[in-house]
């Protein structure tokens, strides 16, 4: 049942739910500015931008952030390419074992990360490789592909197949059809899938732990920092940076796809 005037109970419950979700985030943001560096004393005795300067000066943070951005960027790019191609193939073709293939495509995101991690580590060892940047990217790509694949496949299914036929009928060859019809149709789905993949990769820690070797991504840096309660506000500052890095693209994606639907782009 829908009502324009929800009862005060419902309002209260909604408010409590939102508070429960966002209060911890607010605390993190608040204590990134505190002048007190050991305890979470409330209210903070004073506010300062000092920790931002400290965080910026520390090379380990800069390196971890850069590595995480690099990994997420590469995993997303790989996922966009392979996920779209896989979705296109699964949409157009029907072949023996297609359902099995669909399950195998989606399985990595359903599997616990720890299983994926151990499996990848064993495989890397077995093949005699050293864990490095590309092994992290590979590990992240396993679940990033699924996200892009699902988004792209859903859009392919919604896109009428005869748009492609109409394009060919009007004189466009395969490449022109891809560029003028398929890609614009997929655009916002790929953007959304890519953003989600980026966000997933950026804060992934379980698979990363197994595949990173000596490399240190931002989440791993966080883990290490927890055992070393020094400069606690610095971790909060980095957390704020992470919130910005993940939230801004998602907001951007939201706005882009919104204008895409109401329609005056291109």
């Amino acid at each position: 049942m829908r009502s324009d005037h929800p009862s005060w109970r419902l309002r209260l419950a909604t408010g409590a739910g939102l508070l429960f979700l966002h209060l911890p985030l607010a605390i993190i943001v608040l204590y990134a500015f505190t002048t007190e560096d050991r305890t979470y004393q409330f209210p903070p005795p004073g506010l300062t931008l000092h920790w931002f300067e400290v965080a910026w000066q520390r090379a380990d943070i800069r390196e971890a952030l850069l590595l995480s951005l690099q990994v997420a960027g590469m995993a997303t790019a790989l996922a966009l390419l392979l996920g779209t191609m896989a979705a296109a193939a699964m949409w157009r073709a029907s072949f023996f074992g297609r359902e099995v293939f669909t399950l195998l495509m989606v399985l990595p995101i359903a599997l616990p990360g720890i299983v994926t991690g151990i499996a990848l580590l064993s495989a890397i060892r077995l093949a005699g490789f050293e864990p490095a940047l590309w092994t992290i990217v590979t590990g992240h790509a396993t679940f990033c592909i699924v996200v892009v694949y699902n988004n792209a496949l859903a859009r392919f299914r919604r896109t009428a197949g005869n748009l492609i036929e109409a394009s060919m009928d009007l004189g466009a060859d395969g490449l022109q059809t891809f560029r003028h019809v398929i890609l614009p149709q997929l655009g916002s789905a790929l953007l959304a899938g890519g953003m989600l993949a980026f966000a997933l990769s950026f804060d992934e820690i379980i698979v990363t732990t197994f595949t990173a070797g000596h490399e240190r991504t931002l989440p791993i840096w966080f883990m290490n920092e927890l055992f070393r309660p020094r400069d606690r506000p610095v971790t909060n500052v980095v957390a704020v940076a992470v919130i910005l890095v993940t939230a801004l693209p998602i907001l951007a994606a939201y706005w882009l796809t919104r204008s895409d639907e109401t329609g005056e782009s291109r």
């Binding site: 109409a166 009007l170 003028h180």
Partner: protein
């Protein structure tokens, strides 16, 4: 005059289904040719073969005398109006219409002018900036038409283009399409399952059934002299009397068909012309259809015949259950090829 499209023993097989089964026929240049049949009869597959979305499994398909097998859709001099229009939702109406010229590398200014001309042709001047989603069904239909015609195809394929429109709009579009075809003088190949549509617009109609053609004829011929029981039943309403029933009814063998409006219904015992066929029966049902009454009469042999009586004569109809006399001139009966 060479044929616009020619099927020579063409088959298209999907797995074990023979969607198009050994078809041979040709469509003349400048003709309004309809492919009529129930769903799954092979009419749409035939259209897709001409468009190039399907390739024949066997046989030869000529378009303007050139073998079309293996030629991709984008290299064929035909264009299609799709059933659900298939307009590109991310483009404006103008860009949709200008898509064909854009693919052929026509400069922007020129193709925009051309697209505007086409929009004027289908009476949509000023709609160029809109999105397809902002148009009504009838308007989308016109955009689809303009988009297909801008390439100046020698053959235009139309796949049930009026199916999604309501009755009034459909009738208006029928006469518009026909007028457009006369004006442009190009070949129209029109797929429909609506016999009324096929009859009212076409120069010739091919009636499809199970991947084969039952009959190709002009609308009049198709209606007056259906070749098979299937055609008689599919095109309009018909009384199909098989061989055995014909023998018991008239004493002569041979399946035949007679249209309901050719049968006269009178009270039992009325006078009829000397050379007319006359049989008795009981009026079992009368339905009011506005312009006419649809009556069902059961003969002594258990045969049911449909008779239509114009509304102008409706006042004199006997009561339901009454004994009536049916009569028709011998010339109104038409012998069928099949239905032994």
């Amino acid at each position: 005059m060479s044929a616009a499209v020619e099927f020579i023993q063409v088959s298209r097989v999907f797995g074990t289904v023979r969607a198009v089964d050994d078809l041979s026929f040709s469509i003349a240049e400048g003709e309004f040719f309809s492919l009529l049949g129930p769903s799954g009869s092979g009419k749409t597959t035939s259209l897709r073969l001409i468009a190039g979305f399907e390739q024949p499994s066997a046989g030869s398909l000529l378009i303007h005398g050139r073998e079309a097998a293996g030629v991709p859709p984008y290299e064929r001099d035909v264009n299609t109006v799709f059933q659900d229009y298939a307009l590109f939702p991310h483009m404006s109406v103008l860009d949709n219409v200008a898509y064909g010229p854009m693919m052929r590398g026509v400069p922007r200014a020129q193709r925009t002018r051309r697209a505007e001309e086409m929009l004027a042709l289908v009476k949509l001047d000023g709609f160029g900036a809109r999105r397809p989603a902002q148009l009504s069904g009838g308007q989308r239909q016109r955009v689809a038409l303009a988009r297909a015609l801008i390439n100046e195809p020698r053959v235009l394929l139309l796949d049930e283009p009026l199916g999604a429109l309501d009755l009034k709009l459909r009738e208006a579009m029928q006469s518009e399409l026909k007028a457009l075809q006369r004006r442009l003088g190009i070949t129209f190949v029109f797929v429909t399952h609506d016999q009324g549509e096929a009859l009212s617009m076409s120069d010739r109609v091919a009636v499809f059934n199970h991947g084969r053609i039952e009959q190709i004829a002009s609308p009049e011929e198709l209606y007056e002299r259906p070749a098979t029981a299937f055609v008689a039943n599919f095109v309009g309403t018909a009384n199909v009397i098989d061989g055995a029933a014909a023998t018991s009814l008239l004493g002569s063998a041979g399946a035949f068909t007679i249209r309901p409006e050719r049968i006269a219904l009178q009270a039992a015992g009325s006078e009829v012309a000397a050379d007319a066929v006359r049989i008795g029966g009981r009026l079992v049902e009368v339905q009011y259809h506005g312009a006419h009454h649809r009556c069902e009469v059961e003969t002594a042999g258990g045969l049911r015949l449909v008779v239509t009586v114009p509304a102008t004569q409706g006042a004199g109809l006997p009561q339901t259950g009454a004994e009536v006399a049916l009569s028709w001139p011998r010339a109104a009966m038409h012998a069928l090829r099949d239905a032994a």
